[in-house]
């Protein structure tokens, strides 16, 4: 993306050419790198999803053997989570946090560069297993032992995960240090915009749990190559221990993937309702509660491993509790819209769809929390439906909403509104046709990670696959819209959206390469 060179203040502009991108320490450039990388990974993981849904279009194996199918399922999950959703949120953090707190850049700009460039390296290592004998990992993104301890090429998988983890941890350290130290004078914590808050909390979660994932993969490597028995009963270990360690990371991880979405949604809903966000502080407290509670619910992913009754009851109740702060957030968004003066540009469409469809994902989540019922739902498509609802029309829609919302600020051009709305409706229909029927086949008993299935699941699988093809194709439209907006479009004003509040809307569009080199004055009147 181009950025206007500021002529005053004796700054030279960005380097010319490709080296700019390799060595940049500018938060806007790095944000751009993360966002494009994430889009590339989203399309890659999406292509794998197309392969999966194509195979599942009919019962029987038409396109691939089950080994390849399991590999696609595994890589689809790893790429979407670690290559798609997480880097996208980091990209948004990089672009927005400094501007939203009135800081000139992130606290540690060179570490910021490294954090980004670790990612393409990690994914190169992971994807290179496709060309090795033994192939890509095929044990599910959750890589349970002992299936994973006895699988080829896991050293590459472990190495890639370590590198991704280091990237996330460094990024989180950067976020926290930036937010805690570089806010403009007068910008107290409770005055901070919600996107910044959501990232502050997310960053702490990442620091707490990414090292635990690192521990889990290290133990896996040691069991596989160094003769230890962390997860091997023969040596005094326990396969279930793996699940506990993994999900201790895994559950906070899913909140890591949704909290920034909550922040984005709060901004967009407020702007297009032309109304301040309802319950600003309770939104903050709700996010904090969700983050804290996320540490004590992990075993709801393990209700069928044979835990004692007391443990199952505890995890059921703790999981149900999370519904309360989450519900408060949904009600607050609705209350923000209520008695607003609402227009439905593309960002707002995605944001409202987020609220509705994420809530539906929350409903299936609450059902899953009920342990006796979970004995029927666990490891079926009901779970697949649940997490795809919270991740696709949840996290991904919020990312798309954010892109449409802030793209004019980044590029200086308005995107094509008609095309944006078309992309929205195609995606909305696609996502629901794909994932709603998965509730049905899951309840009817279709297990997940199945390359092939019994005949009674055929109709809804065909429907789901058609939805997937529609959704997948629509993202090519998104690519077109974004590229076009980068290159040309109606010129954007600094304010862009008349209801928008926040420091980023006080600078030019496109935002100058360096912003807030002099911190802005925050007073009672500043619209935040």
């Amino acid at each position: 993306m181009s950025a206007v060179v500021e002529n005053h203040d004796h700054h030279h502009g960005p380097k010319k050419g490709l080296l700019r991108w390799l060595f940049t320490t500018n938060h806007k450039d790095i944000g751009t790198l993360y966002l494009w990388f994430s889009f590339l990974m989203f399309l890659t993981g999406g292509a794998m999803a197309m392969g999966i849904r194509a195979e599942l279009f009919e019962p029987g194996l038409q396109l691939m053997d089950p080994i390849r199918y399991n590999q696609l399922v595994t890589m689809h999950g790893l790429i979407m989570i670690f290559g798609g959703v997480m880097p996208a949120f980091v990209g948004l953090a990089n672009w927005l946090i400094p501007m939203q707190i009135g800081a000139p850049d992130m606290a540690l700009p060179r570490m910021n560069n490294l954090s980004f460039w670790l990612l393409p390296s990690a994914f190169t290592i992971l994807l290179s297993t496709a060309f090795m004998e033994g192939g890509m990992p095929g044990f599910g993104w959750t890589f349970y032992a002992p299936l994973s301890t006895n699988y080829p090429n896991i050293a590459y998988f472990v190495f890639a995960i370590h590198i991704m983890g280091i990237s996330s941890i460094m990024g989180s350290i950067n976020v926290i240090v930036t937010i805690m130290n570089m806010r403009a004078p007068g910008l107290s914590l409770m005055k901070m915009p919600l996107f910044v808050w959501s990232w502050l909390i997310t960053a702490y979660l990442l620091i707490a749990v990414m090292p635990v994932l690192a521990g889990a993969v290290t133990m896996l490597l040691m069991d596989a190559y160094f003769g230890t028995s962390f997860f091997d009963a023969a040596g005094g270990g326990d396969p279930v221990l793996f699940q506990h360690i993994f999900w201790f990371f895994g559950h906070p991880e899913v909140y890591i993937m949704i909290l920034p979405a909550f922040g984005i949604t709060s901004h967009i809903i407020s702007t297009f309702s032309r109304k301040p966000l309802f319950g600003h502080s309770s939104m903050v407290y709700a996010m904090v509660s969700i983050a804290v509670l996320s540490f004590v619910v992990w075993a709801h992913h393990m209700f069928t491993v044979g835990m004692p009754l007391v443990a199952e009851l505890f995890f059921m109740w703790a999981t149900m509790l999370i519904a309360i702060p989450t519900g408060v957030k949904v009600f607050n968004w609705v209350a923000t819209i209520f008695k607003g003066s609402i227009t439905y540009e593309t960002p707002m469409l995605f944001a409202i769809a987020f609220v509705v469809l994420f809530t539906i994902g929350g409903f299936s989540g609450l059902m899953l929390a009920i342990t006796p019922a979970d004995f029927q739902y666990h490891d079926t498509y009901f779970v697949v439906a649940h997490f795809h609802y919270v991740l696709v029309p949840g996290a991904i829609f919020s990312i798309m909403a954010a892109v449409y919302y802030w793209l004019p600020k980044w590029t200086g051009n308005m995107y094509d509104e008609k095309m944006g709305k078309l992309h929205f409706w195609l995606s909305f229909i696609g996502v629901n046709v794909t994932f709603f029927p998965q509730h049905f086949v899951g309840l009817a008993g279709m297990p997940r990670r199945y390359a092939d299935y019994a005949l009674q699941f055929a109709e809804w699988n065909a429907v789901s696959s058609i939805g997937a093809f529609l959704f997948g194709l629509s993202q090519l439209l998104f690519l077109y819209i974004v590229v076009k907006a980068v290159m040309a479009g109606k010129k954007a004003t600094p304010q862009v959206w008349d209801g928008a509040r926040g420091l980023e809307w006080t600078v030019d569009s496109p935002a100058p390469y360096h912003t807030f080199e002099v911190p802005p004055k925050i007073t009672e009147q500043t619209k935040l």
Binding site: A107, G134, P152, V212, A234, G235, H244
Partner: protein, 178 residues
């Protein structure tokens, strides 16, 4: 700012160490709560006359050979009616069906998990590695008692032993050989 940075690095390293601490912590938790029916080390029989409380409990013995190791392994008696707080004896038979010496580890598991803590083993082949010469058959004794601390509504206990061959290179779990 430097303080924050150093603090966060320290937090990261602590959490990495924490994941490894989860290993012994998990075992402690299992021991205290009986989760997963894990049982530990030999016990001594130390009940005095006054502490003995007798009631009948049925124990069923199961066997499982892991990854179809070439050993025939089964309990000499499939179930026993025992009295709590009294020492009982039984055994398992194992026969090596190959012409190679095998070293074996046998791992116990108890169901219901709550009962695990109360099944106290005084002598058990599961405490150490066992070796079987080619075609050798051995009878492995167990001496144990069920503590009367056992919950009132548990009258049936399942004690299962899984036999593993120790040479992990011989693991037959899915390998795409590279």
């Amino acid at each position: 700012m430097r303080k924050a940075f150093v603090g966060l690095i320290a937090a990261t390293l602590f959490m990495f160490a924490f994941s490894f601490m989860l290993v012994p912590l998990y075992n402690v938790f299992c021991e205290v709560t009986g989760l997963n029916g894990k049982i530990y080390g030999p016990s001594d029989f130390f009940k005095s006359e006054q502490e003995v409380r007798e009631r009948n409990v049925n124990i069923r013995f199961l066997s499982q050979v892991n990854e179809s190791a070439p050993v025939t392994f089964y309990p000499s008696s499939e179930s026993l009616e025992v009295v709590t707080d009294k020492v009982s004896k039984t055994s398992y038979i194992a026969r090596n069906n190959t012409n190679k010496t095998l070293t074996l580890t046998i791992v116990p598991s108890v169901s219901p998990g709550l009962a695990a803590e109360q099944v106290k083993k005084i002598q058990c082949f599961c405490f150490e590695e066992q070796t079987l010469a080619p075609y050798e058959e051995q009878e492995w004794p167990i001496r144990f008692y069920v503590d009367s601390e056992l919950r009132g509504n548990v009258n049936d206990i399942y004690l299962s032993y899984t036999l593993f061959e120790n040479n992990r290179e011989n693991s037959m779990v899915m390998h795409h050989d590279s």
